[in-house]
Assembly symmetry: C2
Homo-oligomer: 233 residues x 2
Amino acid sequence: MTTETPTTPSGSAARTPTDAPGDATADGRRLRGDRSRRAVLDLAVQDASVRGLEALTLGSLAARLPVNKSGIAGLFGGKEGLQLAAVEHARGMFVDAVVVPAREAPPGLARLWSLVRCWSDYSRRRVFAGGCFFRTVEVEFDTQDGAVRDAVVAAHRDWTSYLRRHAELAVGAGELAEGTDVDQLAFEITAMLNAANDGSLLLGEDAVYDRALAAVRGALAARGADPAALAAG
Amino acid sequence: MTTETPTTPSGSAARTPTDAPGDATADGRRLRGDRSRRAVLDLAVQDASVRGLEALTLGSLAARLPVNKSGIAGLFGGKEGLQLAAVEHARGMFVDAVVVPAREAPPGLARLWSLVRCWSDYSRRRVFAGGCFFRTVEVEFDTQDGAVRDAVVAAHRDWTSYLRRHAELAVGAGELAEGTDVDQLAFEITAMLNAANDGSLLLGEDAVYDRALAAVRGALAARGADPAALAAG
DNA sequence: ACACTGTACGAACGGTCGTACACTCATCTC
DNA sequence: GAGATGAGTGTACGACCGTTCGTACAGTGT
């Protein structure tokens, strides 16, 4: 992946191998298939955010959709194909829910803080029924390897490097203290956000989101950020 | 659970319903059973820390042990019984690996910092093959309910309340600033430790443990802790 | 008209899961 | 001794898993 910036919700996410470029033609068959794929994935990411990608079941999905079990298998080429497509689909939803709204703030510290707030809202709003989709699947594929794990890791790196980039911009613009360890900062920010997500799910306490925001605000202030730039939630 | 203090590794963890008190007699049959249970659980917690408790399989466990598949089922009364026993077994191992060693430090700030360092070591040493056992199963049972989830939540509360208690002691002893929000502090500490565990597993970077320790040290110092009391890792 | 492609179906496949049951054997109780 | 108890085995069962196959049909191109 060359783009450092998370791309807009991948318009053409999961496609069959033979995907010759330049076919912008509207094939009725493909349209129908894409609509079916979309319906399956909308359900699959919700399920996976709760139970994980391994717990996804072709039969269970098919039972709740006007699609046959073997139809789903054919649509994605098998279960692993479905899992990979689900990761990509979730990535698009994440970008829509977090990255795009945060773009209203200018690059640098403002964008960084906006990302933190948008992520908190994204988790709190339960865009995915099981909290952040990627939290679930990251822990699930922690210690395995294969294509799915690679996709999960790639999504994770994409997100953290985006955070890190805007931290660097903030340092360059003098909004954060010179010499700030942006890796350390990104680590602390993601740690707080993830902890809020997990705590909210496990204990049902909503206060954890405020705790996370307060902690991030503290981490930024400790690095010289203007407190006025860190509007309250 | 009335004890605020994590108990020593539960000597009699998983027992069959009829468990009349006062039977300290050494029944040869029971001894044999306990030995078998222990062997099964030693394997089960390792598996579960990697793949989760739902992915545990009686057949897979039995294939690697001198025990029959239905033998395991009988030993624990079924799969859920095995899962519950695994949580209890892991709890004991956690106490042995983290709580007991940390007891060398006196209560208060020193104990708190010792717990942080011991937890970091516990995760880094891979006491469980899949990193912290409880991280895996917490995320797994985030959004479900049932006896297993309750056990996981109880273990979680046990740990965090233990942290919080020593934070309170530190405040009371003047080692941390008066008015310190101990819930916030406990939140930040667990967030950092968990993030180190997860990051180490997902990305294979060992540096995250140092990042976590540095962040916790910062969080404690910001609350007035004597930097000299926070020995380096 | 024809061949070709992609979606979708229904049925069947081999495999694995957890559970249940009947049974043997060692051990403890009375 | 007799009888109860618990560990452990072996077999069988029903349920569900992902995959595969043959088939039908709609849409596209020539």
